[in-house]
């Protein structure tokens, strides 16, 4: 079953076409990776699929629901971790999860158990009652992932879930993603700048470049497609997006840079 389907999904910002006629289909239970240089349009695509940003043209469905006309049905079945570190620093870790448990209608009887389970799973149980602003960047990320999976979403959108994580935490998140797929039949739609990670986790990847999909397939298919002996996914990335990587500077506007800086600052 195709759990995500996009049809010429397009989003413009003024003259810029951030996401240009995106047409992809993701199968239920897949771990799908969206790769591409900064400014390629990955976050824009995810924001449209999570109903945050209306498309300029084209359409898409998630779990069979149209992202524009059945947006609230989509929201019930998805989980989302934004690119920016966005847990609320003025609340404790537990409170962050509690609020979302309530917003997602997790029954009162189960609430504390679910919160406790995800927090232990993400190795945060001891820090549950500390204010999040005293967490490290990696702890915040783990908290956010815990929050996004608490209601057992059918599709999980992770925008650079391992940004700022140390290798151990990254491995834990990788295991978690695989575990969610294996045990809950969740579909994962993620972006990352780490090619090894994509290679390891993703069944298929799409390489986006300037709003368009430049290549799509399993990592091994793509590696053999570029006709280079012993190619890595990084070679594939460079092959499809690298030629113009220098010119990419202008696509990354001030706002983007500012966000990256802010993230860097929060990551301390």
């Amino acid at each position: 079953m195709k759990i995500i389907e996009t049809n010429a999904l397009t989003r413009r910002f003024g003259d810029l076409i951030a996401c240009d006629n995106l047409s992809i289909a993701v199968e239920q239970g897949e771990i799908f990776g969206l790769l591409g240089p900064n400014g390629a349009g990955k976050t824009t695509a995810i924001k449209m699929l999570t109903t945050l940003l209306p498309p300029t043209s084209g359409n898409a469905s998630v779990a069979g629901y149209d992202i524009v006309h059945q947006a609230s049905a989509v929201r019930r079945v998805i989980g989302y971790v934004p690119q920016m570190l966005s847990a609320d620093g003025t609340l404790t870790g537990y409170e962050n999860l509690l609020i979302f448990a309530k917003l997602y209608d997790i029954p009162r009887r189960e609430r504390n158990k679910r919160i406790h389970d995800v927090m232990s799973f993400m190795d945060l149980a001891d820090d549950a009652n500390r204010l999040v602003r005293t967490y490290s960047g990696g702890m915040i990320r783990r908290l956010e992932i815990a929050q996004s999976m608490m209601h057992r979403p059918r599709v999980l959108f992770l925008d650079e879930p391992t940004i700022g994580l140390d290798p151990l935490a990254r491995r834990a998140v990788g295991d978690l993603i695989t575990d969610l797929r294996d045990n809950y039949d969740a579909t994962i739609f993620m972006t990352t700048h780490l090619m090894e990670e994509a290679d390891l986790l993703c069944g298929r990847v799409a390489i986006m470049h300037r709003g368009k999909v430049a290549a799509l397939g399993s990592p091994s298919e793509l590696k053999s497609a570029i006709g280079k002996e012993g190619a890595t996914l990084e070679d594939v990335f460079v092959h499809f997006a690298g030629s113009e990587i220098e010119a990419e500077g202008d696509g990354r506007d001030y706002r983007e840079t500012q966000q990256t800086r802010r993230t860097a600052r929060r990551l301390g």
Binding site: P82, S86, T90, L91, E95, L103, D105, R262
Partner: protein, 263 residues
Amino acid sequence: MKSVIIGTVSFIRKSLVIVELEIRKMRHDPTELLMRAVQPVLWLLLFGEVFAQTRAIPTGNLSYLDFLAPGILAQSVLFIAIFGGMSVIWERDLGIIHKFLASPTPRGALALGKSMSGGARALTQAAVVYILALLIGVKMNWNPLALLGVIFTVVLAATLFSAFSLIIAFLVRTRERFMGIGQVLTMPFFFASNAIYPISIMPPWLQAVAHGNPLTYEVDALRALMLENGTSVYGLGVDFTVLILCTAVLITICTYLYPRAAT
């Protein structure tokens, strides 16, 4: 019919979750509320005491301090509500708002919950004004129903002005611009109202403005409910009707603007 009831209950419950969220934040960091409480103290103690001496302002059967106390309560509600909206600019910049918008929380519940949480913050200011009013000898009405009426008025007005503030925040989109505009907007609300002088002493054009200002109706209701000898000029029915209608309109606008914050 049943689904309408379930929907409404769920809507209110979700709004209250947002209020709970804001109250939890307030508990972790009450400093802002304490800072804000300085302003009504200064107004009542300095401005109030001086103007009470001059007897220049006709306040009927009320002493000037009695007359002023509800006006200053309304003012502190206004300020705390107007500057509360700035938090959504923060939350948008940090991406917090995106997670709420991607959750199954109705947009209206986000708008209403955020606005009503201004009410929770405003109640802390009401407590400060009450203590102070007691200390400086304002003749207060301690009837429990009247107190409930004051609480209702404060929460309603704070919801109204918070919704207004959220709308401004969504439109101006940066903290710097918001700070500037926030200052510019609070002053006219405050001075073009009956908060510190009766409308009757204003020039006619300003009287017209004051009659279109929701703060006037808030102050009118507070004067009737808070003071032992207080009376309402327009009647509580008119006051609450105006406040509720304005709140409904502003929350509706806010509901439409909320999702734009994530784009």
